[in-house]
Symmetry: C2
């Protein structure tokens, strides 16, 4: 993976504090102010995830968040929409199992763009690595109200995925400061959150709290 593609996060041995955006989770608060507060609090990857807006609006928002990420040295990721990613020269995209197949996305994006893949089983994670994914988002670690239909893989499922592949694994689903340390202890490169930051009373403090928990575990691991 090239240095440009979020080099600081991918190449330095820092845990990932990975925010997935959800405009509706902000309540009445400004979407961009919430994202910027999260970056101030220590988020080092932001994935722009938007399913409802028109493409023109998505491109404008992606550009704004990409600019924010540059300012804070964070990696910018676009969920699903390769067209939006290319329009704003995003260094990374994230694809779910129902999105464009990885090989097709790689052919369009080339080798220099990071591609993350969602996986909810060891099989999907191995397939993603073999198809050339740069990282895996293991989900859902814990079931959340927004994805009540899918059973969580739990910390055991996450640990199994981490053991099965050698690319970085970020856990997502029901994560917050209270269980973030356990995700890293299970082998995760970091934690991804949506509502734990987007819906927090103080998003900056929420991000800071998660980052502190993860850093504490990381140090403990390193000293063992």
């Amino acid at each position: 993976m090239p240095e440009q593609a979020g080099g600081s996060v991918f190449h330095r041995d820092v845990p990932w504090i990975y925010l997935v955006t959800d405009r509706r989770a902000c309540g009445g608060r400004s979407f961009f102010h919430t994202v910027e507060a999260a970056l101030r609090g220590g988020v080092n990857i932001v994935q722009y995830r938007e399913k409802a807006a028109g493409t023109g609006q998505m491109v404008e928002e992606a550009q704004a968040i990409h600019d924010l990420c540059r300012r804070y040295g964070a990696l910018f990721v676009v969920n699903d929409r390769i067209d939006v990613a290319m329009a704003v020269n995003a260094p990374a995209v994230h694809l779910g199992q129902e999105d464009m197949p990885l090989a097709m996305a790689r052919r369009i994006l080339g080798a220099d763009v990071c591609i993350g893949i969602s996986a909810s089983s060891v099989e999907e994670a191995i397939a993603a690595e073999q198809a050339g994914a740069d990282y895996v988002g293991a989900s859902a670690v814990f079931t959340t109200p927004t994805k009540a239909e899918a059973p969580g893989i739990g910390l055991e499922g996450l640990a199994a995925i981490c053991r099965a592949i050698s690319i970085p694994v970020v856990g997502i689903g029901g994560l917050h400061a209270g269980n973030a340390a356990a995700v890293v202890a299970a082998g995760g490169r970091g934690v991804a959150v949506v509502s734990a930051i987007m819906s927090a009373g103080d998003p900056e403090q929420a991000a800071r709290g998660i980052a502190a928990e993860v850093a504490r575990t990381g140090s403990t691991e390193a000293s063992q």
Copy 2:
């Protein structure tokens, strides 16, 4: 515009019989059978327009319709989604005023992909031509139940757009066999329809009826 990009339609002096897909307009009928029936009836351009499906499903459907178009010698167009267009090597895309800006799309797609732009005024049509659009979709010619909010530009508005620009103009909005001839008489290169074919009792006959009306007018024009 390269020959590959729907050469038969763009370079020969044939009127465009342009189908815009709408899965919901098919009722209980098969979506693909409806599109194929339209092609058998004389449709020579198909625009795949889908707003609700996931990207993976869109890519599969676009591939299937692209294959159908190749079989019938029709031009295949993808609405809005440049990612889907690139995934299936579509020769053309169509962008609305709320979609990705034309210059951005052109930078991503290159010079060899046809780009059509929706315009509902002379100003928008001129801007589209100046920005490098290959054709304009003038809409809505007549107001339709599905776009009740927008007033129609009428045949006068269509004629004004056709006079103002030199790239091809296809009319869309409330068109059917009964008014298709008037669109060509107003200077349109052809007619685009959704429900007049997708919702017709017999889509092949509906397409044939529109094609016959347009061809009749085209011959009259040519002989004057």
